[in-house]
Structure formats: C-alpha cells, structure tokens
C-alpha cells in the first residue's frame, strides 16, 4: 500500500535473506550440516524457484499450464551443454538455461495461449512430453542414458537465484503489469475491454515463468552428476503443480511453504516412491475436501503478521465464455 512501508518490508526481507544465507554458508562449509540436510536444502531451493515461477503463470495470470517440467528440462540441458560441451563458466550456464527456457516459453506460449482452459492444459502437457522425447532422441545430449554433469551448484548461487526469483516475481506482481495479469485471471473479457493486451501479458507471464524454471533447471542439472530425460516426465510437472495448488492458487508464500513441506516429506520417503505418490494423493484429496482453496487460500503470509492487506489472489471458476 504505502510505498514507504513497502520499501521497509522489502529491505527487512533482503537483510533477513542475506543473514540466513551467510549463516547457512558457514554451516555447510564448516560441515556442521550433514550431507543429507544439505541435499534436502538444495532440493528445497530448486523447488521454491519452480513453485514460484509456476505460481506466476497459474496463480497470478490464471493460465493453467501443466508442462512446467518441460522448461526445467530445457534449462537443465541447455546449461549442461554450456558447461560440459562448451566448457564455459557456470554463471553463463545459468543465464543460458534461463534464456533457452524463456525462448521455449515464447515458442509454445504464442500459439497456445490463445487457447482457453482445458485446451491450454492439454497443449502444455503435450509440450512437456515432446521436450522429454526430443532429448531422449538426441544423441548429442546422451539420449536415454543422459548427460553427465559436474557438480557446480553451490549454496551462494542457489540462494541467490531463489532470492532473485522471488524478488522479480513479487515486484512484477505488485505493479501495473501484475495487475494486468491478475485482471486476466479474474475476467479475461473485462480485462480486454479495459484496454489490457491480454495475449501480450499472458505470453509475458509465461516467458518470465519459463525463464526461472530454466534457471531452476541449470541449478538442478549441476546439483546431480547426471541428467536424464526420465527426470523430466509428467510426474515432475505434476509435483510442481501440486506446490502451487496446495499452497493456494494466487498465494506466492503459500506456494513457497508447500514447496518446502512437500520437499521435506518426499525426501524422507525417497526410498518408497510408490508411498510418496499415495501420500501426495491423500494430501490432495484431504485438501480438496477440507480446504479447497489451498493452504493459504488467496492470502500472503505477510497478511497474517500485519493483519492488514490481504493479497490479490484466488482463481475463480465459472463460465465466462459468453459475453453478456
């Protein structure tokens, strides 16, 4: 609301993030944190980026895209080619991973974002599968056996990217551009009638979301020693989708919290992948029954502390197709 308050909140968050990052850096380097926890922490970071980037597309702009793992894959492979094949430094790989995914986002977004609802979902689902199959059949990137990648993802890069992603998407959302996206989610026909170039903003949100998913892909690829097309199947897209849905469509902090919780749960269940899916399904069913709006509904976590401004969230459904 108040610009001064906003700035204060902004700087407080930044300072807290830096303090947290520095403390963790000491704990990791000093070996206080054992490898299991470090791994989980890295998973959490990558998943937060994925959740927040998909939140921009689904939660803010209301475009039901379910092929997010496709962008993750594009970022992962593009960045791996940069470091492994071209021997360029990791920061370049991060940037190229993001850009490659953003370009993929533009290519898929421009034709499909004219589609509505179910059609968009099907098209993006198809996109995710196509990307996976393409990588599966390119020998240059190892085909089915995948590509070996050096471990280059370090804590400072990871936390830096997480903070950058959250910042960019929060700043975008809380501006006239974000309001344009929200207006599309709320009522596309009215948004159009108010002079919003709806196609432009849908594509913009899609490309920005894809960009950060690509960065997540670069971090992901360089966190493991190998990437394979099977890492990026539909189930991965589904995992990311659940963060956004469980957190509450329209709530960024909800998506972050869901990403943290579910990553921890699934790390502990790593050795029982079947049980993991069962638990996920149960969590979803219970949520649909008792809290269909998601963990935080449309609110942001900050609104609970300040008791003030509730966020601009909430996807509402209904027939909006005939204009009356």
């Amino acid at each position: 609301m108040n610009i001064f308050k906003q700035a204060k909140f902004f700087w407080t968050s930044i300072v807290l993030a830096v303090v947290f990052a520095v403390i963790m850096q000491f704990l990791i380097v000093g070996g206080t944190l054992n490898q299991f926890y470090v791994n989980t922490l890295f998973f959490i970071g990558i998943n937060i980026i994925l959740a927040v980037s998909l939140h921009l597309i689904i939660g803010v702009t209301g475009q039901f895209s379910i092929g997010h793992a496709g962008f993750l894959a594009v970022g992962a492979y593009a960045s791996a080619i940069i470091t492994m094949k071209l021997s360029l430094p990791f920061p370049v790989a991060l940037l190229v991973g993001g850009l490659a995914a953003a370009v993929a986002g533009l290519i898929i977004g421009i034709p499909t974002l004219r589609l509505k609802g179910d059609y968009l979902a099907i098209a993006t689902l198809g996109f995710g599968e196509i990307v996976r199959i393409v990588f599966l059949n390119i020998d240059y990137v190892g085909g089915a056996s995948g590509m070996t990648v050096t471990h280059l993802t370090t804590w400072p890069w990871l936390i830096g990217c997480v903070v950058l992603t959250v910042l960019v998407i929060v700043n975008f959302t809380n501006s006239t551009h974000g309001r344009a996206c929200i207006s599309i989610r709320e009522n596309e026909i009215a948004a159009d009638a108010m002079g919003i170039n709806t196609t432009y903003y849908k594509v913009a949100a899609f490309a920005i979301g894809a960009f950060f998913a690509g960065i997540a892909g670069a971090l992901y690829a360089h966190n493991f020693y190998i990437i394979q097309p099977t890492n990026f199947g539909f189930l991965k897209s589904f995992d990311i989708l659940i963060f956004v849905v469980l957190g509450g469509l329209g709530s960024l902090s909800g998506a972050v919290i869901a990403a943290i919780l579910l990553t921890i749960i699934s790390t502990y269940l790593q050795s029982y992948p079947e049980i993991r899916m069962v638990i996920y399904s149960l969590v979803l069913i219970v949520m649909m029954l008792y809290r269909p709006q998601g963990l935080l509904g449309t609110k942001e976590i900050t609104s609970f502390f300040k008791g003030g401004k509730s966020a601009k969230g909430g996807v509402q459904h209904g027939s909006k197709n005939t204009v009356a």
Binding site: M1, I3, F10, V168, N171, F172, S175, T176, H177, G178, R179, A180, I182, S183, E186, N187, I189, A190, A191, D192, A193, M194, G195, I196, N197, T198, A204, G250, T298, K309, K312, G313, G314, Q316, K320, V323, A324
Partner: protein, 259 residues
C-alpha cells in the same frame, strides 16, 4: 439541433453465428455528446451489437467507424484505446481485486513504466504507480466509492458493484460509453441514483452514451433518441415520442410479455 460532429457510424453491420443472424444490417449513427437508447425484446441482439462495437466479435458484414476511423477487426483492447468502453449486462468486475485496483487496471494503458522498471523497482516505477493511485482515488470520489477503496470488488453491495463497473469503464477514458442494462436488478431508488450519475458523468466527461435498457419508462425518460432492435434488425429509430407510437415497435413488444 446544432451541427454536432459525428462520433460513431455503423453501416450495415451484422454477424451470424452459423445459421443464426444475431444482428444484421444495422445502421446507426451517434453524434458527439448524445445519450441514445437501444431497446428491444429479449434475444433481439442488443448485447451482441455491443460485442460487435467493442470487438468481442468481428462483424461478418458491414463496417463500424469511430471518429472516421474504421474499427472492424481490431482487437478489443485496441478498440478500447481508440475510445469505446463498456459495462456488461452480467457484472464483470475483477472480483478478487480491490475497488482501487479495479480502476487502476483501466489506467494501465496510460502507464509509462515498463515491466523492466517495475521488476527492478526503478524510480519510474514508483512515480508511475503513485500517479495511478492518486488519480484512481480522486476518480473514485466522483462515484462515492472512496469509502471502500481497499474492499474486494466482490464484497461490495450490488448497486455499488454496478457503479464501480461504470467507474472502471470511464477510467479507460472513452469518448463513447456503452452501458448494457445498467439498472438491471436495481430497486427504484438505486435506479434513480444511477440516472443522476449518468447525467453527471455525461456532463463532466463530455461523453457520448449508448444505453441498453429494458425499463421502457427509464429509457423514454432520459434518452434523446432511441433505436429499436428486434430479431437482429433495426425496426425503428427516433425520439421517444415517435418510438412510443410506432406500430412496429408496439407489435414487437406485444409479441412477448411486456416487462
């Protein structure tokens, strides 16, 4: 009548959905500053005609021009920028956005700050946003909505939602305002207030208004001229007096229950 300049010119416009001619061969002209009514029985094609004017549907025949500039085939957001803005028969507010933000969305086309400057919070972002906010607050005072600036649109009472929708349409700075049954569902007192509001904004914003309304008395009371649509075709146009006594109109309305 003084020689007012022509604002909207619609020539032989029509649209068919498959076999159904929802609107056909409509000729209509609006002069700068006029308040004109558009009436007709249920399903006559009034809303569809608005959808043609605003680009929701592209006319399959005829032409539409505003200030001498052809609008056919332009995207709806471009038509809005050219100066036609509207409200909807079934209210279409941005429900989860605040009253203030609903109006700010209409100001979006005027924003000078780019996505880049918002993401990196450059000075132009802050000045641009502040300007929008101040303008929107001032604007909402005219509509007596300044008491609920931060209320979600969906939480407003019905009458205020209608008012907010008109405010939002006006914030887009139109030359021509299209109102689709703005008094639908209002009680007599709210309707009265609405009519006063329409008179006020028309004066204040130098507007031309085309109004769809079912309530005959209301239309006859405020409009200078009236067009009558039936089965997608214009069957009459003229002053309220002429319309009242036009046999075709009487027939069209007697064909169904008079509401």
């Amino acid at each position: 009548m003084a020689a007012k300049t022509q604002l909207l010119k619609v020539e032989n416009a029509g649209i068919r959905f498959g076999g159904l001619k929802a609107v056909s061969d409509v000729n209509l002209e609006l002069k700068q500053g006029e308040l004109v009514g558009l009436i007709g029985p249920n399903g006559a094609g009034k809303t569809t005609f608005f959808n043609l004017l605003t680009g929701v549907y592209v006319p399959t025949e005829g032409s539409i021009s505003l200030d001498g500039e052809k609008l056919n085939g332009l995207a709806p957001y471009k038509i809005t920028k050219k100066g036609i803005s509207r409200t909807f028969q079934n209210i279409r507010l941005f429900d989860e956005l605040s009253v203030l933000d609903n109006v700010k969305v209409a100001y979006h086309s005027l924003a000078k700050h780019s996505i880049f400057s918002s993401i990196f919070r450059l000075p132009s972002h802050f000045s641009g946003e502040r300007e929008m906010e101040e303008k929107a607050i001032e604007f909402l005072k005219i509509f007596k909505l300044e008491g609920s600036l931060h209320e979600k649109a969906k939480n407003l009472p019905y009458g205020q939602q209608r008012r907010l929708e008109i405010a939002r349409a006006l914030a887009a700075n139109p030359k021509l305002l299209l109102l689709d049954e703005p008094a639908a569902g209002m009680n007599p007192q709210e309707t009265e207030e609405l009519m006063n509001l329409i008179a006020l904004i028309r004066e204040k914003f130098d507007l031309t208004i085309l109004l769809i309304e079912h309530d005959m008395l209301l239309v006859m009371g405020v409009c200078e001229r009236i067009y009558v649509l039936d089965h997608g075709q214009l069957i009459a146009n003229g002053t309220p007096e002429q319309i009242r006594n036009n046999p075709k109109v009487i027939e069209a309305y007697l064909g169904e229950e008079v509401s």
